[in-house]
């Protein structure tokens, strides 16, 4: 077992043991915190496919996170008010069933990623960063000024949505749902990285012209990767909205994009568990530093600087050394 695998296994163990402890000790808020970490990790895992495997520095992933959140908000608010979304040619009702909401979130954010990616991936380098940022801002302003779904105020859902056979309002059960999804996506991501597609995508990041000369279109590879990446981040957005029972344009802001990117970097780019370790650490910092000072963002900023400047490869890089990255 490589050291990276040991770090990963330890992380998984913590993610199982900590909530169980909190459950036994009757600390529901600790479970809520863990749930938040797991969901943000999922968003980071999504981004990591574009960022780590595909080398696409997207500063606009908040768009997909927010679309996922709004998929939940729109469907659930219509269900809550017994007010169909569309009566027109055929009836579309709102729903409070999590699986349907997830599916909608995945499809909606996937379509958005496909459209944004189709334009953005024509550009490279700094232009790509900026154009993804700009698309994110476009959606952000749209959400703010679109009155039908709360605009700046956002949408509040009184109760959490339902999952067949589970009581989602019980923190540990909702945690179980989020954790299961994270594990499933991690397995899929690991397989994706090893697949023919992953191999080609990874090669396109290193040497675009080689991939072209073996008859594979890097544009197509990246567009698909960007879309998958957006879908996963969108799913995370739906879960995040359900955790908070609330969705607002803040989820679409560029600071959110920056934060998702921070999870990935804190943990380690292109490492399977990088975003997981990063998100857990971020939540921990937010919780602990927030208690020390009103000005905790200064410390967060300083820590981030140190990691970027001196600990390349993130926390996992530090723990596991610079051995096998994509293996």
């Amino acid at each position: 077992m490589t050291r990276e695998r040991m770090v990963n296994a330890a992380m998984l163990l913590i993610l199982i043991a900590f909530p169980l402890w909190a459950w036994a000790a009757d600390e529901p808020f600790m479970i809520t915190l863990a749930t938040k970490a797991v969901i943000l990790a999922l968003a980071g895992v999504g981004l990591n496919i574009a960022l780590g495997l595909g080398g696409m520095i997207s500063l606009g992933h908040a768009a997909f996170f927010g679309i996922g959140g709004y998929a939940m908000g729109v469907l659930a608010s219509h269900a809550q008010n017994f007010d169909p979304i569309l009566e027109g040619p055929f009836l579309i009702e709102g729903t409070n069933s999590m699986p349907i909401i997830w599916l909608t979130a995945i499809i909606a954010s996937g379509l958005a990623a496909l459209a944004i990616g189709a334009i953005s991936i024509r550009t490279t380098g700094a232009y790509f960063i900026m154009i993804t940022l700009a698309f994110g801002q476009m959606l952000f302003f749209f959400a703010i000024s679109w009155p039908a779904y709360g605009g700046e105020d956002g949408l509040s859902i009184w109760v959490r949505n339902e999952f067949p056979g589970l009581n989602t309002l019980d923190p540990i059960q909702f945690y179980a749902i989020a954790f299961t999804i994270l594990c499933a996506v991690l397995i899929l991501t690991a397989r994706l990285a090893k697949s023919p597609f992953g191999l080609a995508l990874n090669a396109a990041r290193q040497t675009e012209i080689r991939v072209e000369t073996v008859g594979i279109s890097p544009y197509k590879l990246r567009l698909i990767a960007f879309t998958i990446s957006g879908m996963i981040t969108g799913l995370a957005g739906a879960l995040f909205a359900d955790l908070n029972r609330f969705v607002s344009p803040t989820m679409l802001s560029w600071q959110t994009s920056g934060e998702i990117m921070i999870f990935v970097i804190l943990g380690g780019v292109a490492r399977l568990f990088g975003p997981v370790v990063g998100a857990v650490l971020f939540i921990l910092l937010e919780h602990l530093l927030g208690g020390i000072s009103d000005y905790w963002h200064i410390y967060l900023g300083a820590l981030l600087l140190v990691i970027v400047l001196f600990a390349r490869g993130g926390i996992i890089g530090v723990l596991a050394g610079r051995e096998a990255k994509h293996g």
Partner: protein
């Protein structure tokens, strides 16, 4: 676990009543950092001033910073309800944060006393027995501005607000009471800082007055640019852009502007005089609208605690609804939807020495409630 100011002082025995023996925990989530932190700081300071003055020993206040982010507010409220087991919550400044926190807090059986935000959803169909607003329903000051415009004889107003729900509500509120024509109606970007384009349109519109709702830095920018533009139509707005905290940054450009408020430091009653004096003594600055709201919110809670503990939901609710406390505003009562019924005043910005402040020049609306009360049924 995060920033916790614990305030425990004095003995309840002094008040001669011990209807409750257990401790009461109040969770305050408010904005203490980033843009708009000044408002939260004022609410907190006003609130804590009242708690300290009461000498209440068994009241514990847990204060946390929401960074003006709904997600943070939700996390804090989860923490307060699930981990800290608070009985009462308060403190939120912004409507969008209130919408994120209040419905789920009240659904979990916690009282929420709003010291500032009063979104229409919570006053109407979304009203809740455990939710009280001690400041105003969001529309109130705008409706007062419309009433003032009528009495001032304005017949052709140009109105503008940021393009977000509170902005849209502001224009609706103004139009609800205003009887004249509209020379123009504009939505600006939220957070916009340059209003040259809007001012040009005002200039070209042939209006006789301008109503605007631009809270925080937006208002500062607008007023300064407006003064510089040479357009000299009278401005009317709600108090938010002309309150104590912000007025010094606007400066002389704000002099003479008329704004509407349910409070001012020159309201003539003993409670208010004592509040202003003790606030200045404690914090070395003049209190703002928000400080008075925080002060009133704390006194409302304290007055209800005298007769019941929040664990006895019905009794505590009845005690709150009675509103038997001395408000800095003078007369104060709750309407059927547990929102204030109160006078709204017309103020004008003046200069006293180096300090810019307001004086009351009239009353826009008396015993004013809100239109959403009719939609509220428990």
């Amino acid at each position: 676990m995060t920033l916790k100011s614990l305030a425990i002082a004095g003995a309840i025995a002094a008040l001669g009543s011990a209807a409750w023996a257990e401790d009461v925990r109040i969770g305050m989530i408010t904005t203490l950092s980033g843009g708009g932190a000044g408002l939260g700081i004022d609410v907190r300071d006003g609130f804590m001033l009242a708690i300290e003055q009461s000498g209440a020993e068994n009241v514990e206040v847990i204060i946390e910073d929401d960074e003006r982010a709904p997600e943070v507010a939700v996390r804090l409220s989860d923490e307060m309800i699930q981990a800290d087991d608070v009985d009462i919550m308060t403190g939120i400044i912004w409507s969008n944060l209130a919408m994120a926190v209040v419905p789920s807090a009240t659904a979990q059986g916690v009282f929420y006393i709003s010291p500032n935000a009063g979104p229409s959803q919570l006053a109407g169909r979304g009203c809740h027995p455990l939710y009280f607003n001690v400041a105003w329903q969001n529309d109130a000051l705008h409706e007062a501005a419309g009433a003032y415009a009528n009495s001032a004889g304005y017949g052709n107003s140009f109105i503008l607000a940021p393009n977000y729900p509170a902005g849209q509500d502001a224009l609706t509120g103004y139009k609800r009471t205003y009887g004249g024509d509209l020379a123009g109606e504009l939505f600006t970007d939220l957070g916009q800082t340059d209003y040259a384009s809007e001012i040009a349109q005002i200039r070209a519109s042939g209006a006789d007055s301008v109503f605007f709702f631009l809270p925080g830095g937006m208002g500062i920018a607008f007023v300064k640019q407006y003064a510089d533009s040479g357009v000299d139509l009278p401005l009317v707005g709600p108090a938010f852009s002309f309150d104590q905290g912000i007025l010094q940054a606007v400066g002389a450009d704000a002099l003479g502007i008329v704004n509407t408020s349910q409070w001012n430091r020159d309201i003539d009653n003993a409670t208010n005089a004592a509040f202003v004096e003790s606030f200045v003594a404690a914090y070395d600055r003049l209190p703002s609208l928000y400080a008075s709201q925080g002060f009133d919110a704390a006194n409302l809670i304290l007055s209800a605690l005298e007769s019941a503990h929040p664990d006895d939901e019905d009794a505590f609710r009845a005690a709150l609804a009675a509103a038997e406390f001395d408000s800095t505003r003078g007369d104060f009562a709750f309407g059927s939807n547990q929102h204030p019924v109160q006078d709204i005043y017309v103020r004008r910005v003046i200069q006293e020495g180096d300090i810019f402040t307001n004086e009351i020049i009239g009353t826009a609306l008396e015993d004013h409630g809100d239109v959403y009360a009719a939609e509220c049924s428990y």
